[in-house]
């Protein structure tokens, strides 16, 4: 992401770089997008917590120079919910992988969305379990090869955006590491959004997904990322149109009662004053 004169490094924990991620992995672009969003918003790092799950993307909190919480597999959103309720003024960003958020973490994903609590989820969708060596995930495109679907996966695929919309998230967007300039903009929109915000970033995994499906080198994978997605027509596409390619863009950006605000009103009704006031 060209830094356009922004000091993004202040939000990177450079002493632990380079990252653990493989050459050509897209995760770094998303981290740069997050750090760029923080630089654009000039956030105070001591008032931000990046909560990560387990897996490749879960390591994000180490690389971003804010408060960091590297939690257990699938449970990042549950940790983040408690943290946000205890300290509602904190900006809490939750970075999870596709398996992390939608397989083992699926129950917490739909309930956090249902609550519309002010959290920003950055969901790195690389269509596979990378850290453990290339196994199938609920987001693996049908028919793909992975180390646990060597003859082509037969599992039908989750659409992250549909799940987030159905569960009630009030800001839902999808972008890709190919559309690198979009990443910080979506993240900034998601963080400033007063409610549950989900930004899914389709992110290439050349080491496992790319190799097992013979997509070619790292640049070929970016082209593959580009061609499997298409800009979102102004009106919301229906399921049929989505079957062909995944749409990118902002699918919902609306206001609804935010959970910590509702909780503050509840306390006021019984004479209590909750963190907000």
């Amino acid at each position: 992401m060209p830094r356009l004169g922004l000091d993004v490094d202040q939000y990177l924990r450079t002493q632990v770089l380079p990252t653990v991620w493989c050459p050509g992995c897209g995760n770094g672009n998303t981290v740069e997008g997050l750090a760029t969003a923080f630089a654009r918003m000039d956030v105070d790092p001591t008032q931000v917590v990046v909560v990560g799950g387990i897996g490749c993307s879960g390591r994000t909190p180490f690389y971003v120079k804010t408060n960091a919480m590297h939690t257990t597999h699938g449970r990042a959103l549950a940790y983040a919910t408690g943290l946000k309720m205890a300290q509602p003024k904190l900006t809490v960003v939750v970075t999870m992988g596709d398996g992390d958020a939608l397989a083992i973490g699926g129950n917490h994903f739909i309930h956090a969305a249902r609550r519309n609590i002010d959290l920003t989820v950055i969901l790195y969708n690389n269509g596979i379990y990378g850290m453990t060596g290339g196994q199938e995930a609920p987001t693996t495109p049908l028919g793909s090869r992975t180390t646990t679907s060597l003859t082509g996966s037969i599992e039908r695929t989750f659409d992250t955006v549909e799940i987030a919309l159905a569960a009630g998230a009030t800001y839902v967007a999808r972008t890709t590491t190919f559309d690198m300039q979009e990443i910080p903009l979506r993240i900034e929109e998601a963080i400033t959004h007063p409610g549950f915000a989900v930004v899914e970033v389709l992110s290439q995994c050349p080491t496992y997904y790319g190799r097992l499906n013979q997509i070619g080198d790292t640049t070929d994978m970016l082209v593959w990322e580009r061609d499997r997605t298409e800009g979102l027509p102004v009106k919301m596409a229906n399921r049929q149109e989505l079957l062909g390619e995944l749409k990118t863009g902002v699918f919902r950006n609306e206001k609804s009662v935010e959970f910590t605000k509702a909780y503050s009103d509840l306390c006021a009704r019984v004479g209590g004053s909750y963190g907000l006031s």
Partner: protein, 93 residues
């Protein structure tokens, strides 16, 4: 990491160590490389419109001809490992 600054028209030394941060400066714009973070994924090589990026004998990225660089930041955008810092000098936030 120490920094080697190369101004307009100056010649880059033959061999630059991985630890050295290389910074090219030309009339207000700058391109900085932190080669220590490079993982030789070559995403930047294809992304560069001027085609001036290649891996050296240590498999680390380097600039073949800085005079052709337009400071567009495509390399920084593509790089997932924070190697490039580009300031086009146009100063927009």
């Amino acid at each position: 990491m120490n920094t080697l600054t190369i101004k307009l028209g100056e010649k880059a030394p033959q061999r630059i160590g991985a630890e050295t941060v290389v910074r090219y400066e030309q009339n207000g714009a700058s391109l900085t490389l932190r080669r220590k973070y490079c993982k030789s994924c070559v995403l930047c090589v294809d992304a560069c419109p001027a085609k001036i990026l290649q891996l050296d004998q240590d498999d680390l990225i380097y600039v073949t001809d800085i005079s052709k660089c337009v400071f567009c930041g495509a390399c920084a955008g593509r790089c997932p490992d924070f190697v490039f810092i580009v300031d086009s000098g146009k100063g927009e936030k």
